[in-house]
Symmetry: D2
Subunit: 359 residues, 4 copies
Amino acid sequence: MANSFGQLFRITTWGESHGGGVGVVVDGCPPKLKLTEADIQPDLDRRRPGQSKIVTPRKESDTVKILSGTFEGKTLGTPISMWVKNEDQRSEAYNEMASKFRPSHADYTYHAKFGIRAWPGGGRTSARETIGRVAAGAIAKKILKEQFGVEVLAYVSQVQKLTAEIDHERVTMKQIESNIVRCPDAKMAEKMIRLIEKMRSAGDSVGGIVEGVARGVPVGWGEPVFDRLEADLAKAMLSLPASKGFDIGSGFGGIALTGLQHNDAFRMKGGKVRTVTNRSGGIQGGISNGEPIYFRVAFKPVATVMHEQDTVDVTNKNTTLKGRGRHDPCVLPRAVPMVEAMTALVLVDHALRHKAQCG
Amino acid sequence: MANSFGQLFRITTWGESHGGGVGVVVDGCPPKLKLTEADIQPDLDRRRPGQSKIVTPRKESDTVKILSGTFEGKTLGTPISMWVKNEDQRSEAYNEMASKFRPSHADYTYHAKFGIRAWPGGGRTSARETIGRVAAGAIAKKILKEQFGVEVLAYVSQVQKLTAEIDHERVTMKQIESNIVRCPDAKMAEKMIRLIEKMRSAGDSVGGIVEGVARGVPVGWGEPVFDRLEADLAKAMLSLPASKGFDIGSGFGGIALTGLQHNDAFRMKGGKVRTVTNRSGGIQGGISNGEPIYFRVAFKPVATVMHEQDTVDVTNKNTTLKGRGRHDPCVLPRAVPMVEAMTALVLVDHALRHKAQCG
Amino acid sequence: MANSFGQLFRITTWGESHGGGVGVVVDGCPPKLKLTEADIQPDLDRRRPGQSKIVTPRKESDTVKILSGTFEGKTLGTPISMWVKNEDQRSEAYNEMASKFRPSHADYTYHAKFGIRAWPGGGRTSARETIGRVAAGAIAKKILKEQFGVEVLAYVSQVQKLTAEIDHERVTMKQIESNIVRCPDAKMAEKMIRLIEKMRSAGDSVGGIVEGVARGVPVGWGEPVFDRLEADLAKAMLSLPASKGFDIGSGFGGIALTGLQHNDAFRMKGGKVRTVTNRSGGIQGGISNGEPIYFRVAFKPVATVMHEQDTVDVTNKNTTLKGRGRHDPCVLPRAVPMVEAMTALVLVDHALRHKAQCG
Amino acid sequence: MANSFGQLFRITTWGESHGGGVGVVVDGCPPKLKLTEADIQPDLDRRRPGQSKIVTPRKESDTVKILSGTFEGKTLGTPISMWVKNEDQRSEAYNEMASKFRPSHADYTYHAKFGIRAWPGGGRTSARETIGRVAAGAIAKKILKEQFGVEVLAYVSQVQKLTAEIDHERVTMKQIESNIVRCPDAKMAEKMIRLIEKMRSAGDSVGGIVEGVARGVPVGWGEPVFDRLEADLAKAMLSLPASKGFDIGSGFGGIALTGLQHNDAFRMKGGKVRTVTNRSGGIQGGISNGEPIYFRVAFKPVATVMHEQDTVDVTNKNTTLKGRGRHDPCVLPRAVPMVEAMTALVLVDHALRHKAQCG
């Protein structure tokens, strides 16, 4: 009972890996926004399996269809229902999953919680669930861009120990999309791609870090004390499959500094109150301060590996399981549009909430 | 409009640093729980300013009063209203704050968002707001302990660069409370205390890491896809003042491993499905798996320092501001009961949610 | 932004009269419930236009498809997405509606609120929206019956001035379904049918009353103070198109009595606390008391009539409009499954909520 | 777990009849609204027991104190906590209530639901709970008046069989407050007062109807499909103690008309789209249409009567109980400010929701 996200711009996702498809209902979208499938599909294509040699090869076109909420190419203010059919449903590849729990997957916990689980393809725990998020996020990004001048970006900054240094204030979507790993540092991207290919060959996987950025957010978004902007971003990111950590601004690294070193001094600049440094990450006291928002999300290495591993089965017996079928050596390139989507969903929700009370 | 937290065990906090006090209403508490102020006060005393030489010296007894929701020492199932009076209200110490924004505080963002702010003591942005959380958390901890056998603990594991190694599976409350910095590693605790005292003398401050642990959580708590247990924990922690990051299980550190290295193998042990390692941090697919839950929260160094800093005033002029009055060189010892409280609030809420759908 | 209903058993409906269809996502359904389309379709057939000579003739099979949330015929505990295609889309019949507001319809208010509206078939204001409710309600009724022994029924008790006297404690589904007006008083049903046919011939319409009953509800459901069981039922009923009033138990009629006359005395009966009379309508203080719950819902005469009426157009000019195309002389027979559905949705939600706090 | 009401202007009430008091936290109030206790107290005085000879004589000053959320007489945008102490706590008058269930009260259902109840004064089921609503409603009314030009009124239109005819478009607060029964028809008011006095002498009680009116509501408030304005009003009214029914506009009476007779024709008037009649009650399709909103709420006769009645006790034995102590012969005069408060709370919440999506 937690398949909805957002208070005023509220999405509800549904769907399992196998079955009638996956989708999302978006409630609360402002009316009269120009919207067709062409606004949604590009982000789904960035999330799609099989998009490059370094991601999972599942064959899915992931073609979105808007079933409601628009009329003559514009939003109505009523719920927008979007649907993507499931196509590549090879249950047989997963047969062993019916009786054995994949290590570090959600098979066991779903089985224990619900007493039943859709084992083909991981059912609801499949990353296909994020299709609904990315589709809804595309709408959120469009609203942010057109109505608030806010740009949301994400990119891969680290794969295992390969770390890129990216200037989050200047990085562009073009740079991010210039290579298949979505790391705007071209040289490091090449190394990352080689590492991921090596992992694919070894039947193993790697994790890393995706950084998210929002530029142009006006002062005032965020609802203390519990729905601080960074709190909602943290929740959004930790709700993504395989994510294990989140920090914002100086984050874990800020600990090394003293308060005097860490504080962001205020100065007037161009008639605006600005901070000289931005260790706060664009948010102070839970409310945006007009500086760029930037944060990091840690993703663990994908749990499915092509090796025999110890596990137990549904009858509580020790056994082993070897990953078969599709193998995703690195979730990061596809996590980029997911991070963007969740960021945009948080921001547009807060934009509307701010308007309601203080607008 | 975000002063409530939780779905079924729902708290609403209120109150500014100065004024009639601070408090909380707890809605959804199960009936017939034994409860008096004596169950609440100890955690408030752990959160209280002035409790030791290394925390802020504000003089407050922080005595809690239960105004409703109990009868003859037991909960009624109706809202529990708790109230703590404000006592030490030295507005004059903050006079300069009326017109100048403290760097890296929330003065500017509140001013910009609401067009008004209660500047004495920081108003709603004061850490006094967490009194309501800690009071409610004490109830949550009691329910977890008595009805579910779950123990929630937190402790300081790092102050600036001083890092303790704590075994989260075995650490005890007694060890944690054995020193004023709340680090169960006694030797490291001494160093930490010296560092904090040095900072106090220098009018500066340090941050660090609080680790949270929940032991005894049964399999099955957590509501994917958006209200994953780790997602709600992340939000809870990032909603605390001065927090900048969260990770769970292997967290940011897990990135160094490959999938094969990182996966937690399942094995039967004592008739139960257990994992051999616990890099998952007790949660898989957003649902508890029966292993200990452990996570880290990064806190930045407190922004109030006793030095002159650049800032701007409410008339948008550059100026400087020097911290005066009470100085908190390190928020960590007092953050420990806050982290415990928020952890307990998340867990009891999920316990009730799990019971509703799957009980 | 209000297309969801329920707290723990939460439905989200979507869809316009014309377009990709209408549907619903059900979140929070308990796992392991046997469920296929065959459990849903019968109630949709009872709601369907064209089912008899006295309802609107729109040609729709209203065939439901479950897209997610079940596996091998059982619920997973994940969101259940259900979809019904739109088939009979004769926009041309509505062309005049593009520029003129139908009196006592929602055309004008939608236009004014959103600045845009899907005029074909009334868009989101079409009664087709209730398909999602009825589909979700069928699941709710199944849970109530199988897991709680609760039976939910509704029937037509009044059409304009034709009033039937029905014993809500004994009326059966068979009696209700024995005639096309769904009034279990066979003689009165004949008169009602004749009246509705007369109205159809005259191009006019009539309203009336649907009574709802829930039998077997255990003591204890309902969440004071705001989510009293009768409050949520009232909201549920007033959210149905064309409804104008609700009362429960003695309702508006109870005003004629004094307190002494009106009170329901308690007596032990069969080892249970029972009330001798049931003017409370099965609810006291917002909580079910174990007696049958019964209430009335007033529906106005359908606004679409085949006569020329004064109205204004989208350019704010006075004009006239004559209803064309499909004409529904009486909404009551089709409102019966809607009332049942909403009743069941309220009850199953409260069943889960009660279990969470007091179970 | 249902002591909150509203989505964006959200109130949480707490408190029992006896104990530390009753109160409310208001979250989401716009900042910079002038607000002191003087804005709240007058409505509490209208709700207060002992205000006249025809209401319950409990001696309470019901003095409200604002504990948070304002600064220098203006709202901060943070939670407003308001508290009223309990004063007249004569538990002994209720001693028999500890072991016997009062007929048609909530004693039995609370006891059965929670397994515990605060029997003195009815605990949470006491009408004192509505103090929080009325206090919050006073703020809502102030916002509506000052920021939207909306006036909210309520009055008694019927006591048992004594029915007044009131023109809801023209009635004034002064007329309503000109007599103690709050019926603006002075002649009928006298009869009503005599009837209530007769009931008081007889130790009996009477119910009746309170009508609510909102004038000046702009076009566009209301959130279909579930949070239609009339649906939220219905819920609000049925959440009041002793209410049994709600209808809006033509309501139950509209059933007598055909669609052609019932429809509200649109005409331009003063440059605005207006309806010639207002059987819709100011709401069409769940959204306000600019006409006055008016509705009726049925209140049953108060259950406490000074006569011996059959009941059962907590040991499940048949017994009798005679009302003692304070006797409220008619709840209607005090229900008037409650109806106003709930109306205002619904409206201001919808005003903010409308602004968020369509503003």
